[in-house]
Symmetry: C2
Subunit: 405 residues, 2 copies
């Protein structure tokens, strides 16, 4: 059954019932338009929690601690900071992550082990715990605090990313909300993709994790800003059941509806992250159809949006289909050159592997007018997938080269 999804106007991570959030400036973040840098998200009741984390071999102890607590039990809160990644700081990192959750839990009147922690910012510098100790009690939580938290987790993002939707499940209205911050890299050091998702649906824990894995696979795993992966990337989903109703379990029609909603939300936030990559001026959407299978379609689509040459060509409003063919070819997926068709903003440029006559000015105009979509038909199977990226601009290089001392 196809879910009927309604987007909640001005929605955020606190749109689902029973969630509150807030933020303050602790003095950790010394750059960016928005100086908020320490935030809390709280559920009135215990939540089932699920998480997807960086696969980088070097991760922040904050990631390690949050992972452990998600698998250990129910969760009530997340404390998050920008300005410092708490990574590559030796044994002190885990101690500091634990203390952050202790301070947050004390302020919120909950238990340490019900609290997760996420950090983003400079690598190799210890968390200034003194500043956090001093400031965390200033954070006032409100049912509309998602907007403030969305600002507090930003690093080089140009604006906060927030979204919420509602769904009908078993005749009840269920809400899902989320905030995210940039996958582009940060001046002067590594940034991180952080995403916090909430729902007031009651979801059985193992299905919650499976649903998040599936949604992440087609959203956050399909965006590329610069091919680099942070040590702190985290997507966390909390379900508090405040909407009432039976617990949703795998295999039920309700589970199917919930999955559709969660995937929709994650794709919405992921596209905003791609569009707001550092220095980016437009979103690139690449769809590959007719691949041998979904996995191969995904690999080819990701190869297109992560090719520097494709990204630079889009920035120059250049319908440079040769670079797209190259990107598909280097992804290693099964293909027959003579079967490939290629569309730019739905204008066909290549059929049976060869360019067809097209009105170049029309294609340039289509690209110039806004976002760019590429569609590649491999015509060797039924697999399809979509990936998103952004154009590569001189501003990206300037951002990331600017730091000298």
């Amino acid at each position: 059954m196809t879910a009927i999804i309604e987007v909640i106007p001005n929605g955020s991570v606190t749109s689902p019932r029973g969630f509150k959030a807030g933020a303050t400036y602790a003095g950790l973040k010394t750059y960016g338009a928005d100086k908020l840098d320490l935030a809390l998200l709280l559920s009135e009741t215990l939540c089932s929690a699920a998480g997807v984390f960086s696969t980088n071999k070097i991760v922040s102890p904050s990631v390690t601690l949050s992972k452990k607590r998600i698998s250990a039990g129910a969760i009530k809160a997340i404390v998050a900071n920008s300005g410092c990644a708490n990574t590559c700081v030796g044994d002190q990192g885990l101690k500091d992550a634990e203390e952050m959750t202790f301070l947050a839990a004390r302020h919120l009147g909950i238990k340490d082990e019900e609290t997760l922690v996420c950090s983003t910012g400079i690598i190799g510098v210890e968390l200034p715990l003194a500043l956090i100790r001093q400031s965390i009690s200033k954070i006032q939580l409100s049912p509309d605090g998602g907007h403030t938290m969305a600002r507090a987790i930003m690093t080089t993002d140009s604006h906060p990313k927030e979204m919420a939707i509602s769904l009908k499940i078993n005749n009840r209205t269920v809400n899902l909300g989320g905030i995210a911050k940039g996958s582009g890299m940060i001046h002067p050091n590594l940034a991180t993709m952080l995403c916090f998702l909430t729902t007031d649906a009651a979801i059985e824990k193992s299905f919650l994790q499976d649903a998040l894995n599936r949604a992440t696979e087609v959203s956050f795993n399909m965006i590329d800003v610069d091919g680099d992966q942070s040590t702190n990337d985290s997507v966390i989903l909390l379900s508090n059941g405040a909407a009432g109703g039976d617990t949703i379990r795998a295999g039920s029609p309700a589970a199917d509806i919930f999955q559709q909603g969660l995937t929709y939300l994650c794709i919405g936030l992921a596209k905003e992250l791609a569009r707001d990559g550092e220095g980016a001026t437009k979103l690139i959407e690449a769809t590959v159809e007719g691949a041998r299978n979904t996995e191969q379609a995904g690999a080819a689509a990701r190869s297109i949006v992560s090719s520097l040459l494709v990204k630079a060509a889009v920035h120059g409003n250049d319908p440079n289909w040769g670079r797209i063919m190259m990107a598909v070819g280097k992804s290693g997926v099964e293909l027959e050159e003579s079967k490939i068709a290629l569309y730019v903003n739905e204008i066909c440029l290549v059929e049976e592997g060869r360019p067809i006559p097209y009105f170049q000015d029309a294609v340039v105009a289509a690209i110039k007018s806004g976002d760019v979509s590429f569609r590649v038909k491999l015509n060797v199977g039924d697999g399809s997938a979509t990936a998103w990226g952004c154009d590569l601009t001189t501003e990206y290089v300037t951002f990331n080269a600017a730091y000298t001392t």
Copy 2:
């Protein structure tokens, strides 16, 4: 035994005995400082030949034809053009590649099947055979023609890449020479890495291929300009035996000496390609030591030189070691964070996975003064490898975004 390698001053692909080359302007290349665009390399006698080619799933029919001829028999000549890649042009591509070798062979008085063909330039446009028919007979070959050929294969390269060395093998002087062209990408379309290597040593064919594979593995496969792989990348090695002496076979001391010389030559040319990446201002050398094995060391080293963030940081003279840790971590190699040491231009910045106090100005000054070297010690095994890349500059983006119609 360690080979005694002498670099031949002003050496080129025609430095080994019995090789001649030449080039002309046929009208194929409409950009670049140097308008030569059609070249021939000829050996006086038949050569054993070996080749390493693009693994992109979409390749030029020129690559397909040259591969077939190398495996079929002995080779006397290579015809190469810049300005047009002869790729994504349907069945006509193979016919044109064959006709190019026919025209070259007729001009040189040799057989078609003794002739290889390489093309580099725009994708999706048929080779203008009429121009080639008209001009190929103008090419005059000379024993010093390697310099001219090196210019003729250039696309966005800022200068030709040439090198030759001599070695003593069994008390005879043996020469190896080579020319190469840029692995950076080309305005307005795909460029290609081409490398033509010659030797007057007599080498048994299967060892010649093995030796080329090994040399390529640690040279051309260890450079990165922008992570994209052309449809036309080719490295070809011809051995004509003009130096006299017994044929060199696998497992002999002579084979070992030859391998060292070939590897030295390939690394020399590969470093020049990396240094001259589009828009680049400096060479980056990344060495990873103490990896579990050579393969893992190579993966980690390549991950460093291909990270956009590392490349942008180098451009900004920024000793941004956090980005190097991230790049090593995302390569997926076995590591223990607490065992990692990191050096920038031989100045230690990280020990046991944590930053140590260092004089930042000294490191910035070291990076500013010229090329940059990173050394990462993983301390989990004996594998080591080196990779080369270049900095990422705003000029790269400008180059590759500039084409609009």
